[in-house]
C-alpha cells in the first residue's frame, strides 16, 4: 500500500493505482474526457491535470496516467490547476464550440467564450473531439482494430483504413457506446443479443433473462458477445469482483439416474402469423396474449405501461378470443385459459389506460372458483364483450389522423348485425399447442398421445396423472391445456404418486411374465432372438432356454413364436387364450 495526500487528505492505495483512482477513493471529482475505467489511460485530453509537489515547486501531470508514489502531495483544486484545465478546455472549445460535453465542462470551470478562433472549427454538436476512446476500445477491448487515427496535426481524425468500409469491423457497436459526443452512431437493424422472449426490447450480450429468472444470474449470449467473435474483450471478468464470469463453459450433457419421471414439458403457443386475416406480423400493434403479458409486466420493456408503437396510449383495444382454438382448421379443442386471461387484460387495461376494451368471444368459459364473479366484475368495469368470431383485422387509414388505426370486422351474433370496430391495438388470444417435440418425447418414454397431440393419461378419471409407462407421470399443459390452479393440483398429484412409490420401496410388476417349460423345450432358441429385453438366454448345460423373470416385461412375443409350446405367459397361457377364442365364438 502506498500513502499519499490529495488536497491535504491522506489516502492509501494499491500499488499501481493512478492519481485519478486515488482521488476517486476520496470522492474528489476530476474532469475527464478521454478516460474510461475499462480502457487503458491515454492522457490525450489533458483535462484531468493535477499539480504534484516537487522539489522545485509544482508540476502539472495528467492524473489518469500518472501512478501514485509514496508520500506524493497532490492538489486538484488550486487556482493553478483550474487555470491549466480551463486553458486546455478553451483550446478545445475554440475548435468544437457546440459539443455538449465540452460545454458542460466549460460551465463547471466557469469558462464563457474561448479567446481563440480555430482554423479547423467544427460547429457540429456531435463533432469528434479526438479523445481516442473508440480507437482504443476497438483495439484493446474488441481486438478488431477496425478504426484508428489517420493523418497528423490539425488534420488528425478517426477513420477506417483508406476510409473504406472495414472488413475488420464486426459491428459490435462498442465504439458508439464509448463515444462521449455521439459522433459515432450505431444503427441497429435487428439486434442479435435480444432475450429469447418475444423480441420486445433490445438487450446486451450479458443479461438476466427476466427479473424473475431462477437462478437470478446473468447469462452471456455467445452470439452477441464480442469475446466469442474476436477472442478479446472479457471486460466483464475485470469488473466482476466475485470472479463469477467464465467464458469457457460449454453446454454439458448431464446423466442422472432416476427411478421415476414426471413429464411436465408444458406447451407451445400457436403462431397466428399464418392466419393472415388477423394481421399478426403485418400490422404494428397486433400482439399475442404472451406479448401483451410482457408489456403489462412491471419489469417488461415498457415498465408495465400500455403503449402503441408510436408511444401513445391506445384509445381502444380489441381482444380476440379463440385464435387457433375451437377452430376446425387449426385446433378443435378449447385452450381453456384464454377467456380468463382475456378478461384479466380487460381489467388491467381499464386500470392502466382510459381506453375502450372490446372482447370478441365465442363463449365465455368462466368455469372455475371465483371465475364467474370475476367475469361480472370486469363487465361492471365497462369492458365490452361482443359475441362473434372476428372475421378480419384491417387497416382503417381513411385519413392522416387515423393512420395506424385498425378495424376489427366481425358479426355480432347477439344483435345479428355485422360490425366494424376501430381500435388502436389488437390482442390475439392464441391457442395452446403440444410442444413441438412432443412426438420425440412420446417415443422416448413410450407415452401415448391423444388426437390433439397432448400426452395421454392412463385413465381420464381413475389414473389422471399416470401414463401407460410405469413410473412416468404427466402433469400440466403437457397433458392438456389447463390454467395454473389445475396445473398445480395435477403436478401435486403426480409428485405424490411418485413419492408413494418411493415410500413403498418396491415396485409391483404385472404378473404377466413368461416362463419356459424346461421339459418341453427343445432348445431351438427361436425365443432368444425374439425377446427385446434379452430376458431369455440359452442354458447350454441343460440345452434349454432360460428366462429371467426380472427382465421380462410380459409381451408374450416369445410365446407366440415357440413352436413346441414350451414358452408360456402367465395369465395368457395358450390354453387360456384358445379357450377364450372358443368362448367368444359360442
Amino acid at each position: 500500500m502506498i500513502s499519499l495526500t490529495i488536497d491535504g487528505k491522506a489516502v492509501q492505495v494499491q500499488e499501481g493505482s493512478t492519481l485519478l483512482q486515488a482521488a476517486g477513493l476520496l470522492d474528489i471529482r476530476i474532469p475527464t474526457l478521454c478516460y474510461h475505467p475499462l480502457i487503458k489511460p491515454f492522457a490525450a485530453c489533458r483535462l484531468c491535470l493535477v499539480a504534484v509537489k516537487t522539489r522545485w515547486g509544482e508540476e502539472l501531470v495528467p492524473s489518469c496516467h500518472v501512478p501514485c508514489h509514496q508520500g506524493m502531495q497532490v492538489r486538484t483544486d488550486s487556482e493553478h490547476v483550474l487555470e491549466a484545465r480551463r486553458f486546455v478546455l478553451e483550446l478545445m472549445l475554440a475548435r468544437w464550440p457546440n459539443v455538449p460535453v465540452l460545454r458542460t465542462l466549460a460551465e463547471e470551470l466557469g469558462l464563457r467564450q474561448p479567446r481563440f478562433t480555430s482554423v479547423v472549427r467544427d460547429e457540429r454538436e456531435d463533432a469528434c473531439v479526438l479523445c481516442g476512446l473508440c480507437v482504443r476500445a476497438c483495439d484493446e477491448v474488441v481486438g478488431a482494430s477496425a478504426i484508428s487515427f489517420a493523418e497528423r496535426g490539425i488534420q488528425r481524425r478517426v477513420a477506417t483504413p483508406f476510409d473504406l468500409e472495414s472488413e475488420a469491423c464486426i459491428g459490435c457497436g462498442v465504439c458508439a457506446l464509448v463515444c462521449p459526443t455521439s459522433h459515432i452512431k450505431f444503427e441497429v437493424e435487428e439486434y442479435k443479443g435480444k432475450p429469447p422472449e418475444f423480441l420486445l426490447g433490445p438487450n446486451t450480450a450479458v443479461y438476466i433473462p427476466t427479473l424473475q429468472a431462477v437462478p437470478r444470474v446473468p447469462v452471456i449470449d455467445a452470439e452477441a458477445c464480442i469475446h466469442f467473435k474476436t477472442g478479446g474483450c472479457q471486460k466483464c471478468i475485470e469488473v466482476c469482483e466475485p470472479l463469477a464470469v467464465n467464458h469457457d463453459m460449454l453446454d454439458q450433457e448431464i446423466e442422472v439416474e432416476v427411478g421415476q419421471v414426471l413429464v411436465t414439458t408444458g406447451f407451445d403457443t400457436f403462431d397466428p402469423g399464418p392466419m393472415a386475416r388477423y394481421g399478426y406480423g403485418r400490422f404494428d400493434n397486433v400482439y399475442t396474449g404472451l406479448d401483451m403479458e410482457r408489456m403489462l409486466n412491471a419489469t417488461g420493456p415498457t415498465g408495465g405501461k400500455v403503449v402503441l408503437k408510436n408511444g401513445q396510449p391506445p384509445r381502444a383495444v380489441g381482444i380476440v378470443h379463440c385464435v387457433g382454438s375451437r377452430d376446425e382448421n387449426y385446433h378443435r379443442y378449447c385452450s381453456r385459459l384464454c377467456c380468463m386471461y382475456a378478461l384479466k387484460f380487460g381489467h388491467l387495461l381499464k386500470e392502466r389506460t382510459s381506453s375502450e376494451v372490446y372482447n370478441f368471444y365465442i363463449d365465455i368459459r368462466a368455469g372455475g372458483k371465483g371465475y364467474e364473479e370475476f367475469y361480472s366484475r370486469v363487465l361492471h368495469e365497462g369492458v365490452n364483450v361482443i359475441r362473434g368470431r372476428v372475421a378480419e383485422v384491417v387497416e382503417a387509414g381513411w385519413s392522416k389522423k387515423d393512420e395506424g388505426t385498425l378495424l376489427i370486422r366481425c358479426e355480432d351474433t347477439l344483435i345479428g348485425r355485422f360490425r366494424e370496430i376501430p381500435v388502436d391495438m389488437v390482442v390475439l388470444c392464441t391457442a395452446l399447442e403440444p410442444r413441438h417435440d412432443a412426438e420425440q418425447l412420446a417415443r422416448l418414454f413410450g407415452l401415448s398421445r391423444s388426437p390433439d397431440g397432448f400426452f395421454l393419461e392412463r385413465h381420464p378419471k381413475l389414473e389422471p396423472v399416470a401414463t401407460t409407462t410405469g413410473g412416468v407421470y404427466v402433469a400440466g399443459c403437457a397433458q392438456g391445456p389447463k390454467d395454473i390452479p389445475d396445473t398445480v393440483a395435477q403436478a401435486g398429484a403426480a409428485a405424490a404418486q411418485a413419492l408413494a412409490l418411493i415410500d413403498k420401496g418396491y415396485v409391483e410388476i404385472e404378473p404377466v411374465t413368461a416362463f419356459i417349460g424346461e421339459e418341453i423345450c427343445s432348445g431351438c432358441q427361436i425365443c432368444v432372438g425374439m425377446c427385446p429385453y434379452t430376458a431369455i438366454h440359452f442354458d447350454s448345460e441343460k440345452s434349454v432356454a432360460a428366462l429371467n423373470e426380472a427382465l421380462c416385461k410380459g409381451c408374450g412375443t416369445c410365446v407366440a413364436a415357440c413352436p413346441s409350446g414350451a414358452a408360456q405367459q402367465n395369465l395368457f397361457l395358450d390354453e387360456q387364450l384358445f379357450a377364450e377364442v372358443q368362448g367368444v365364438l359360442v
Binding site: 412420446a442 398421445r449 427385446p532 409381451c555 412375443t557 410365446v559 407366440a560 395368457f572 395358450d574 390354453e575
Partner: protein, 151 residues
C-alpha cells in the same frame, strides 16, 4: 341369406393401444358393429398364428388384430413381429382355402377411438359381403394337425 348373416369376428387387441382405443370408444359412447368379440393380449406380438387359425376353425368369419403404430410398441418391437407373422399367415390362409382378406391387421393407438369404430364397421361390412366362412379345406374343418396343436 346375406341379410340374415351376422358375421362373427374375433379381435385380438393389444393391451396398450387398440384395447385402450376400444375403451375410449366405449367411454365416448361411440356406436359400432357388435360383430367383433375382443380378446385382450398384452401385445399384438402375443398373437400366435395358431390362435388365428383356431378362431377360423371354431367358426370365426374374420379376425382383426390391433396393435400399436410402428415405432410406438409398448414392448419396443412386438408389432413388427406381428406384421411379419401375419404376412406369412395370409399366404397360408389362401392355401387353406380361406380368403386372406378375412384376416386384418390394423395399427390403432390408444387415442384413436374413432378410427377403431370405423375399422370395426368397415371390417364387419367387408366380412358381411364376403359371406360366411365356408371351410372347404379338410385341413381345417376336420381333425387337422394345426387344430390338434391347440389343447
Amino acid at each position: 341369406m346375406s341379410e340374415a348373416f351376422n358375421p362373427r369376428i374375433v379381435g385380438f387387441f393389444c393391451n396398450w393401444c387398440t384395447y385402450l382405443a376400444a375403451d375410449l370408444a366405449g367411454t365416448s359412447r361411440m356406436k359400432y358393429a357388435p360383430n367383433v368379440r375382443v380378446v385382450r393380449t398384452m401385445c399384438s406380438g402375443r398373437v400366435d398364428p395358431q390362435l388365428v387359425v383356431w378362431a377360423f376353425r371354431n367358426g370365426a368369419d374374420g379376425v382383426l388384430i390391433g396393435g400399436c403404430h410402428p415405432g410406438d410398441c409398448h414392448y419396443q418391437e412386438g408389432n413388427y413381429k406381428t406384421l411379419r407373422r401375419m404376412g406369412l399367415l395370409r399366404t397360408m390362409l389362401a392355401q387353406l382355402g380361406i380368403q386372406p382378406e378375412r384376416l386384418r391387421l390394423e395399427w390403432i393407438s390408444a387415442s384413436e377411438g374413432e378410427r377403431l369404430r370405423d375399422v370395426m364397421n368397415e371390417f364387419s361390412a367387408q366380412i358381411r359381403q364376403l359371406g360366411p366362412l365356408e371351410t372347404k379345406s379338410s385341413v381345417i374343418s376336420s381333425q387337422s394337425s394345426v387344430a390338434q396343436a391347440a389343447p
